[in-house]
Subunit: 350 residues, 3 copies
Amino acid sequence: MPAIGTSFRLGELAVRFGCELAGDPEIRVGRVAGLDGGPDAVGFLVNPALLDELAKARLGAVILERRHAAGCPVPALIHANPHATFARVAALLHPSAPVQAGVHPSAVVHPSARVASDAEVGALAVVDAGAVVGPRCSVGPQCFVGPGVVLGADTRLVQRVSVTAGARLGERCLVHPGAVIGADGFGNAREATRWVKVPQLGGVAIGDDVEIGANTTIDRGALGDTCIEDGVRLDNQIQVGHNVHIGAHTAIAACTGIAGSTRIGARCMIGGGTGIGGQIRIGDDIVIAGFGMVTRSITAPGMYSSVLPVEEVRLWRRIVARIKRLDVLATRVRKLENAAGIDTGHDNDI
Amino acid sequence: MPAIGTSFRLGELAVRFGCELAGDPEIRVGRVAGLDGGPDAVGFLVNPALLDELAKARLGAVILERRHAAGCPVPALIHANPHATFARVAALLHPSAPVQAGVHPSAVVHPSARVASDAEVGALAVVDAGAVVGPRCSVGPQCFVGPGVVLGADTRLVQRVSVTAGARLGERCLVHPGAVIGADGFGNAREATRWVKVPQLGGVAIGDDVEIGANTTIDRGALGDTCIEDGVRLDNQIQVGHNVHIGAHTAIAACTGIAGSTRIGARCMIGGGTGIGGQIRIGDDIVIAGFGMVTRSITAPGMYSSVLPVEEVRLWRRIVARIKRLDVLATRVRKLENAAGIDTGHDNDI
Amino acid sequence: MPAIGTSFRLGELAVRFGCELAGDPEIRVGRVAGLDGGPDAVGFLVNPALLDELAKARLGAVILERRHAAGCPVPALIHANPHATFARVAALLHPSAPVQAGVHPSAVVHPSARVASDAEVGALAVVDAGAVVGPRCSVGPQCFVGPGVVLGADTRLVQRVSVTAGARLGERCLVHPGAVIGADGFGNAREATRWVKVPQLGGVAIGDDVEIGANTTIDRGALGDTCIEDGVRLDNQIQVGHNVHIGAHTAIAACTGIAGSTRIGARCMIGGGTGIGGQIRIGDDIVIAGFGMVTRSITAPGMYSSVLPVEEVRLWRRIVARIKRLDVLATRVRKLENAAGIDTGHDNDI
């Protein structure tokens, strides 16, 4: 359970976050919780399946939509977007640790690097030649800020993050441990039976308010930059190939791989474990269900899938055998049609 | 080849590990090996396909089941579970390097951290405020033990492991390089066309005897904890989302991703490259074949699969084209049935 | 954009790289660029789809095949392999930063390690007992070179690379941040309802000219070594299980997982997101399309696939429902054949 921070009056929360309050404005809450939390906590409800649970709630307050407020047994903060409001209340009640301005004595900072006086450089971090660490940035323990890298104001590298190849991050970015930004892309030219490495010379340009998950890798461009626009959310263990472009406010779930030079539009949502081929385009507002395989460009907004859910293994093996003999089955149907004098025209052609 | 350690008499091994010995108890062995090993080595046989190889063995001894002992040309340590017995013999003959009690002078240990006097903290490791490093623990070089983290007795972080968010590990855990335990989960609330970060406030609770592979990531819970129970084995590059619960003695192979709030039972075996969706339940004793896609809850014990093995590419393209026209094929069959006066009832409905 | 390095005369480039020059040999170029680069840059053309763009080029020179040289508006360096030639020109014009011989004062080097006098050990790196860092090697910042590890001449660990378990790397290898070489393989013996760890005692043997991507993991062998032969190219986030053998000059794209004891031949090309099961063999010159699932051995050279491209989600759900009812469809076809008196023999059997 999170520690209890400063408490706030419900009346103050309602004003601050634009909620209608149904209940006593003098009640104080100091933390967020699930619907099973106690009288010092604020919860939220979005899923109607949890209305039964709400009926038993003993929370200090619950954030919900008006349509769910009737019969709520505790004070309600009514808002059209309970999830986002909950997120804001949580950030208020449980603020991130403040940046501790200064460079830890065990960190290694190159004389030509510029670290803002109110920025933090943690234990055993490296800030290399010509790097710029902006105001109120936090470079956490064991991070690496490579030559020429620029971190915008209020950006936080949580711990053991590597940023190199002169990558530029905007303001208020948040990067989690193990992420690698700016490693070489996979560029190889075939020559007879061996490979010649194609030098990777581009950079990485990351906008404002981007979050990058643990052990995610974003390669530098081959010539131009790999680009991640404002507000993009990348979960853990995502691979972003060289010269990929990800549009603003797109969110991508864990374990997704994006091959080189692919361009993804704005406001897309891409489920976990998705594979996206190289040099294709995905338009704006596209949703890819998890485990999708994207091998061609997609332009029409909408939701796309290629997931094959698991089945009991003997049944599945029969299905696979049938799939692999679909050609035979189609031929048998064609024979039946011929025998029956049915003309299906082009239907039989592949 | 592993270095040769102290040697042991076969008679001693038989007693220590509950084996029946067929052969001279005075023979000494000092290492483990495959069936092609020499007279100073112990091997094991489980796979009957290797019986031919066994017939040529020159090992000091071989561990096998009684049914394979006939005709064995070398001394045999007979046990109902040769693989587990081999594992134990290997651990005896090739012990891990002992913990070197003490804190390396280059490590950074916060004054408020508690490090057991017989624990080891390696070069350039960080042990942050309020962390507890238990008896005989090893915090390897360049590891990070974040604020409030607790490591139970005899737990080893091999090298460059990150543990944060107040995560608690039990006793005798083993964590490999690059693993990240306690990074933020992927929590985002949609607001018009952008995302509001949902603060991740929970922790990670890991039981005893858990092994966690290289570059595996285990996110902290959003509110409550992400839980890994006793004896779980996680291979490399696995992603465990926030608030996932993995039951005791479940083993998960590499490159598997598990989305948030999913609950996996005890004693499951999950093949590599599997994707498991969020907020679902997998019961006890479930086996998922590699590359499975799990999008719904599974309760019945058994084995499940959705793997589609590769085919020669031209054949595969024909199969995919057939798959995408299955609706057409079904309609053609329906027409034939109508023409033949066959009533298949609901069979045709989807 | 990459910085401009030393410039070269086109005549000199033509001689050095075996090109025919169509144009003024005195023109100087100092960098590489895409077809939209300026007169100080060299570009290349392979893809005929870009011939329109070539017609507008203002480059100092373009590298291309003879068949594309007609009508080229700028000087042409004509070569049968423009991509490989471009790679070599790029390496000449944009050389890697030279190795800075010496050990950074913040690095921790064990007294028993041997570091060549012209090698570099970066800030906060660890070189452990008995390790050997060869001539002109670069061990980048925060890297870990574990006990007994051997790095051949001119090998570079870019930054925060972990090499352990006595792994041996050949000459001119390049390893990117976050890679882990030599972690334990996933060896577990089942015993009733729990797991006994099988000690991992083998090493990792890596040839010359191998490149290993960011956050890729290569496990040590269980008994013998995991082997990566000369010239192999591994992209980011690849998992190589224990005792895998990868043949010379094979290239593997990101997010591919290879389970234990599998043997992959020489000159293979394996697309991203591919899963390869354990204990199988893939011959020489095999191509696996991205997202493939390889569960059986493949010996015939050629290209293999099992990719299922995404479809609009409602259509896809119909397809999945059809797939799961293929047995029923086949039975219906069988009934029709019986009614029509058609004998398909074994065609109906699975």
